[in-house]
Structure formats: C-alpha cells, structure tokens
Symmetry: C2
Subunit: 179 residues, 2 copies
DNA sequence: GTCTATAATGAGATAGAC
DNA sequence: GTCTATCTCATTATAGAC
C-alpha cells in the first residue's frame, strides 16, 4: 500500500500498472490480487484507510476544543501538518480524481471528514461565533484559502513550508466569517 | 474537440479511448491522428484553447476596472458564470490532473490566467486596498472560497446555482483581506 | 484531408504449483 | 498466502487507399 500510494500520487493512478507496483514493492502479482481483488481494490483500500485516519484526527480536535474558532484553527493546522509530513497522503485525498477510478465513492467533498468540517462550522453559526449564512458558504470561506495553499504547495509553487503561512492564512480565514 | 472535452470531463482522460471519441464525434481515427498527432495532442489543444479564452477574459476585466476590489469581484463572477454555463470547460481547466497526461505543462495554478489573478491582487496590496501580506496568501484568501464553491458545484454537492451564493462569497472573500 | 483496416503493445487479470 | 507463468483483450498508433 505504501508503494501504491507513492506511485499513484507520483505518476497518477492510470499511469501506474500492477507490474509497476510489483517492481516497486517487491510483492508478487498474485499476492496483490489475492488481497485486493483488483487494481481498484488497492485504491479503495488506500482511500478508506486515509479517510479513517483523517476522521479520527478530526474527532480528537472536536473533543479537545469547545469553540468553533479553536476547532477550525486546529483543523487548518492539522491539514498543513499532514500536507508537509505526508504529502502523498494529502495529495491522494484531495486531488485524486476518485470518480475516475472509484466510481462508487462519492466525491471527496462529501466524504465523512469534509462533512464533519462543515458540521463544526455550522455549530459555530448556531452558537453565534460565526456570522449567520449558508453552512457551505461559511465552510468554503474558512477552509478555502487553506486548501488552496495546500494545493499550491503540493504542486510545488511554494518554496517555503506551509507552516510559514499558517498565521496569515488563519487570520484571513477567520476574519472572513467571524462575527 | 467538443466531443473530447465532454468525454474527458465526463469519464476522465484515461477512461476515454480514441475509439470513444471517434464514435461520439463521427470523426475518423485517421483524421484525429492527422490533426492532433496523438491523444495527448487532443488534450493539449483543448487546454491551450481554454487557457487562451480565460486569459483574454481576464484582460478585459483588467481593462474595464481600475480598482483591485472591482477586478477581483468581476473575476469571481466570471468564474461562477463559466462554471454554470460551461461546466465542462471549468472542470477541465480546474480539476483535470494535467500533470498526469500533459507532463510538460506546469500545474494549472502556474498557468497564465492564475498568475494574472495573483498579479491583480498584488497590485491591490501595493495600492493599499488590500492589507500588506504575501501575494500568494492574499490571492488564496480572495479566491480560495470561490474556487472551493465551484468545486462543490461541479461535484454535484450544491443544488442551487453558484449565482445564488455569489454575494455572500464575495463579501466573505473581500472581508478577509480588505484594509 | 479523411477514411478503413490492421498492427503492436502492454495492460488487467487468472491458473495452479508450492 | 505467496509465487511464476501465462492468457486475453482493449488500446494506441500506423498504413495506405481514396
């Protein structure tokens, strides 16, 4: 799975053949098919694992903080941290055109972690921390800038690590929706 | 090219074969290879055309408005309009993992139109309309929310057209960076 | 310039021993 | 559970008539 993640994100799912994974991982063709069924199964297994980790991390953030402000700030920090420490993970979760090779999965934006992020924003609106507006708009405003910076970083546009921009991004993000 | 755009965005570049384009367009295999060289040539031709249109539209916006505020507002309106009227165009420009099938093109974020958007934001900082900060951060803050909403719309998450959200998105976007 | 027919490649997937 | 060897087949790309 580590090989598959590296190859999928580095060269793309469709530019990665099973023989490529065999060479890179040292695991045999037969073994891969035995465990995952087919190539799509490898992608699905990766996707489920990553989404699971992400959701777990979000739940910890929710438990640790009580205000929407602190939760959103920690989420951006988490996203930046993953993007720096495990860029392949972040790239696979964010960018991978899952609908092209995981047709049964919905788009990533409607996966549990992203829904969870929107819910936390919605609670912030309910509690009066965030200006009254559509949940989706508020979530896009809070996290849109950070997600965009992550994309730029993964695409190699930013030389400096995301941590350097974190404070500015957070300030603009919160200013856009705060009461 | 219209067929290719529809098929590439609908099913993905790698799920679209030349025979698919032949059936859908009524143009023969030989003719396609005569004009475009290979499958990648079709994608490249599409990409160049769309980027050209986009850049032209941005130049008109720049000419028409003199303040960064008005320019950014018109850009978001333009992006929303294209996403609604020609979703395939927008999807191909934004989402298509160009590096997977157009390895020589840089990432979309460093293409002319996106650089142009960042320059307009930078001018806004220079003129004092936008708070002093890194260009890239400011551009991400201004356009990040809108781009995120476009992604949600293209992924079918939003039922209502983007126009309905335009005012709220613009308000949050500008509030995040305005002096 | 456009077409039909076809070649050549390499992919995904399977069989069956160990 | 893992391996090697192999099959099947769709895909990209070309050849050559019109």
């Amino acid at each position: 799975m580590a090989s598959a993640l590296r190859l999928f994100t580095g060269n793309g799912y469709f530019n990665t053949s099973i023989p490529d994974i065999v060479s890179d991982s040292g695991v045999s063709t037969g073994s891969i098919y035995h465990h995952f069924g087919d190539k799509e199964g490898v992608a699905k297994s990766l996707f489920d694992t990553l989404v699971g980790w992400m959701e777990e991390a979000l739940q910890q953030i929710e438990k640790k903080n009580s205000s929407a402000r602190d939760r959103c700030r920690d989420i951006i920090q988490l996203l930046f941290q993953i993007a720096e420490e495990e860029p392949d993970m972040m790239e696979f979760m964010l960018h991978a055109r899952h609908k092209e090779f995981l047709p049964q999965e919905g788009p990533i934006c409607s996966s549990r972690p992203f829904l969870h992020m929107r819910e936390m924003v919605a609670e912030g609106i309910a509690s009066g921390e965030i200006q009254p507006m559509d949940d989706t708009v508020a979530a896009a405003a809070v996290f849109g800038g950070a997600l965009r910076m992550i994309q730029l970083r993964l695409d190699g546009i930013l030389e400096k690590p995301l941590t350097e921009y974190q404070d500015d991004i957070w300030t603009t993000a919160w200013r856009s929706v705060a009461v």
